[in-house]
């Protein structure tokens, strides 16, 4: 894809449209599906918006280009990168020369503007202690303008940014935050709040104060992040920054390599996903229209047409609900994947006549009980990780032994209605595979599926023996992200 540089090569007569089209290309690169009509809409929309109103501009682009709320975050990042340096108030300010504040400008653009108000000017002369004190007071009073100015000052002082240095923004963020010691700041703020209060704070009041301060601290962090991003963009250019900041959308995040933050987002994403899936599946069940003619019902309705069967009625097919047995490897590398799958399967347990689950590392344990009568699935999954007895010898995956135990204890429960799901990367640490068990299972059950969170390219490399096991499965699927998981479960029901 040709990437137009929006800064150097905007189409000369309509610089704005050139800019917007560059922006849209970057959105597509970030994985957002932007269609041609949406592109045209965006172009038209911005012509109706007063161009100096940054917020309105952002929402105009958002409303026309982003049609899924989970993509909003990605959109914001691209927007910040693309439009962070535009307009005089976004010029990078060094040292004390923080420009002359014009207050009317601030009035038209809430949430913008720069080191204005008290102390914008001579901040670089302050000692770190004075700076910390100012920060403390600004946080205490919730003084937005001051916080913004201090965020800039902090980045300038502590981040140690050097032009051309190939370090990511998170490094600078870490450095800045470490120097500001925000954790202690929260404690200090709480103490001050306690001292200010006429009486002792009740737990409720304490809680409210703490939430308020954390909210302000979060806003400060966002300011710092934005400032760092602005400086990086100024240093490296829009394209390069947009590329480094590009992150997979939540549904595309790899289970096995998710960062801590991505994990949190994944956990948030799984609940709405299961809800959507449950609704869709329930609907599918009810609305299969392929049923045979219901003769009785048709005759009954023909009475109102004088005996003419004008309105044929059909029987609704009622497919039998499958019985599910989930056998999941929960050793380190694939634990996250097992968690998500268990979560999803139990959230949909209404769609199955029976769900039983087993987890293993080298030993195997049934964990169905943890999920019974529990409202909070997340909690049950957590208990599985803490309490299940899955270690037999050394706590390294041993699929062969685990399958052996499964066959011995629960093999008789597998019947022609049972669908067996096996979750794992089939990295057997060179133990015996015991794949004859899978053969027997396949023989006895309705279907055996294997879900592997590893990319297909890695299958059967090293100690992975998914190919051997796969011979005895009705399907081996690569399930690396929520999108693939959703697709699989939908087909399963």
């Amino acid at each position: 894809m040709t990437v137009t540089d929006p800064i150097t090569a905007p189409s000369s007569d309509q610089p704005l449209l050139g800019l917007v089209s560059g922006f849209i290309i970057e959105l597509r690169n970030a994985g957002l599906p932007v269609s041609l009509t949406e592109n045209l809409d965006a172009m038209e929309a911005v012509t109706h918006i007063p161009i100096e109103d940054r917020e309105a501009f952002k929402y105009a682009l958002g409303a026309t280009l982003v049609k899924n709320h989970s993509h909003w975050r990605a959109f914001e990042v691209v927007f910040e990168v693309y439009f962070s340096l535009r307009g005089p108030e976004y010029e990078i300010v060094d040292g004390a020369a923080s420009g002359d504040p014009s207050d009317d400008e601030d009035a038209t653009m809430p949430g913008e503007g720069q080191a204005q108000g008290g102390g914008g000017g001579g901040m670089s002369a302050l000692t770190p202690e004075q700076l910390a004190e100012m920060l403390f007071r600004a946080l205490m009073n919730g003084d937005e303008a001051m916080l913004r100015a201090l965020a800039r000052q902090a980045v300038m002082r502590f981040a140690g940014m050097e032009p051309g240095r190939p370090v990511g923004g998170t490094y600078y963020l870490y450095r800045t935050l470490r120097n500001l010691e925000l954790d202690e700041m929260l404690d200090r703020l709480m103490e001050a709040a306690r001292a200010d209060a006429p009486a002792n704070l009740t737990q409720l009041e304490e809680r409210l104060e703490r939430d308020e301060f954390s909210d302000r601290l979060d806003r400060l962090k966002l300011e710092i992040e934005a400032e760092i991003r602005r400086r990086l963009v100024a240093d490296r250019g829009v394209e390069a920054m947009a590329r480094t900041l590009r992150k997979p959308l939540p549904e595309d995040v790899d289970f096995m390599h998710a960062s801590r933050e991505e994990m949190v987002n994944l956990k948030k994403a799984i609940y709405p996903l299961t809800r959507k899936l449950a609704v869709r599946l329930a609907r599918k069940r009810r609305h299969g229209r392929k049923g045979p003619l219901d003769f009785r019902n048709t005759m009954r309705h023909s009475l109102s047409y004088g005996g003419v069967p004008a309105e044929p009625k059909f029987k609704f097919p009622r497919p039998a609900k499958p019985e599910i047995m989930v056998v999941a490897d929960i050793s380190g590398s694939v634990a996250a994947f097992a968690r998500f799958t268990l979560h999803l399967v139990y959230a949909l347990s209404g769609q199955f006549s029976k769900v039983r689950s087993f987890v293993f590392i080298d030993g195997l344990d049934e964990v169905t009980g943890f999920f019974e009568g529990v409202e909070d699935i997340g909690h049950a999954v957590h208990r599985v990780n803490m309490e299940a007895d899955v270690v037999w010898v050394d706590g390294h995956s041993d699929y062969g032994h685990a399958f052996g135990v499964f066959w011995e204890r629960y093999g008789k429960d597998v019947g022609p209605k049972t669908t067996v799901l096996i979750l794992g990367d089939a990295r057997n640490n060179y133990h015996a595979s015991q794949s004859w068990i899978l053969k027997e299972l396949q023989h006895r059950s309705r279907k055996v599926f294997w879900l592997n969170p590893e990319p297909k390219a890695y299958w059967d490399t090293g100690d992975s023996i998914v190919g051997e096991y796969g011979t005895w499965c009705d399907g081996v699927h690569e399930v690396r992200n929520l999108r693939q998981l959703e697709g699989f479960v939908e087909n399963l029901v």
């Binding site: 599906p33 269609s35 009509t37 949406e38 809409d41 038209e44 929309a45 109706h48 918006i49 007063p50 109103d53 917020e55 309105a56 929402y59 105009a60 958002g62 409303a63 026309t64 982003v66 049609k67 899924n68 709320h69 909003w72 009740t202 737990q203 409720l204 809680r207 409210l208 939430d211 308020e212 909210d215 709405p272 809800r275 959507k276 609704v279 869709r280 609907r283 609305h287 409202e375 909070d376």
Partner: protein
């Protein structure tokens, strides 16, 4: 497309007139409503339940001085409920009264004329002469196939009736579709709409909403309500309190004559705000000085 003068002169006026009818819009909401008018495009509004999606359409109708036509979606909604239906009984009567006199062609032409057409919300909205705001509520409840019914009207503002021809809009209505996000809407539908996500309001906006909507609430109480609700939303609950529940709660507190919310009041009235027992338990655990037995809280 029909040219018509824009309803709103600028962004600020949208915001102000929405505020005049007691709807507090943030930048995003006002901006999208303004654009919907200028671009002549429908707005798809998504967000958690009880954040004022439907109310937005009602308020916009009010400020635009338009009639609100509402189509409530549900599973099994079909053409005859959403678009139009032929009045079979009347047609039957027509045939019977005709007798042998008329020729087949005459009767046929006559049978499928507007006289025998029963208009349903969508057709009504575009046939209307006076300004209308069309609200298609909870569009995520219809099946994916039924969505296709909406596509023609959303992009062309017309309805094709095979027997009659195409009915075009006399004026372009403002269209709002709301969705609670129980399923992903089709790409085709989304492409035709502007997208607006209404989330829970931030602290300040929620406080303003409470002050505006609850008679007799003072600044101090509104502030406390908003702050407590924000803290509750940060807990990991099954269902977060919505704006409408916040308002109910504020009204309850005003009725009870409470001026200062302490933990006990909050817990005693938590069942207005929260609808699940586990959620209430969680809040009690977090907020109470010494956790009370829950049975005492069920007022």
């Amino acid at each position: 497309m029909i040219e018509q003068p824009p309803r709103f002169s600028d962004l600020e006026s949208v915001r102000n007139s929405l505020a005049d009818v007691n709807y507090l819009a943030d930048d995003g909401i006002a901006g999208v409503v303004y654009l919907a008018d200028r671009l002549g495009k429908p707005v798809l509004v998504e967000g958690p339940a009880g954040t004022g999606k439907t109310q937005l359409a009602k308020s916009v109708a009010e400020i635009a001085g338009a009639r609100l036509i509402r189509l409530q979606c549900y599973e099994g909604l079909d053409e005859s409920k959403a678009l139009y239906e032929w009045n079979y009984k009347k047609q039957l009567l027509r045939i019977q009264t005709e007798g042998d006199g008329a020729s087949w062609n005459e009767v046929e032409d006559d049978l499928f004329s507007e006289e025998f057409l029963l208009t349903r919300p969508l057709l009504e909205a575009i046939r209307s002469d006076d300004p209308v705001v069309l609200l298609i509520d909870e569009v995520d409840r219809v099946e994916v196939e039924t969505e296709a019914l909406l596509l023609e009207i959303l992009s062309e503002y017309q309805v094709s009736i095979p027997e009659l021809g195409t009915v075009e809009a006399r004026q372009i209505p403002l269209v709002f579709l709301t969705s609670n996000g129980t399923r992903e809407l089709s790409e085709a539908l989304k492409r035709r709409c502007l997208y607006l996500y209404i989330d829970y309001p931030d602290l300040e906006r929620e406080r303003e909403i409470v002050s505006m909507k609850v008679p007799g609430v003072d600044e101090n109480l509104a502030d406390q309500v908003a702050r407590i609700v924000r803290s509750i939303r940060q807990l990991d609950l099954k269902k977060n309190p919505s704006v409408s529940e916040t308002l109910d709660w504020a009204r309850t507190l005003v009725l009870l004559g409470i001026e200062q919310i302490d933990a006990k009041t909050a817990i005693d009235t938590a069942n207005v705000l929260l609808k699940y027992r586990t959620d209430i338990e969680k809040v009690v655990k977090e907020f109470a000085d010494n956790p009370v037995e829950l049975t005492a809280t069920d007022t």
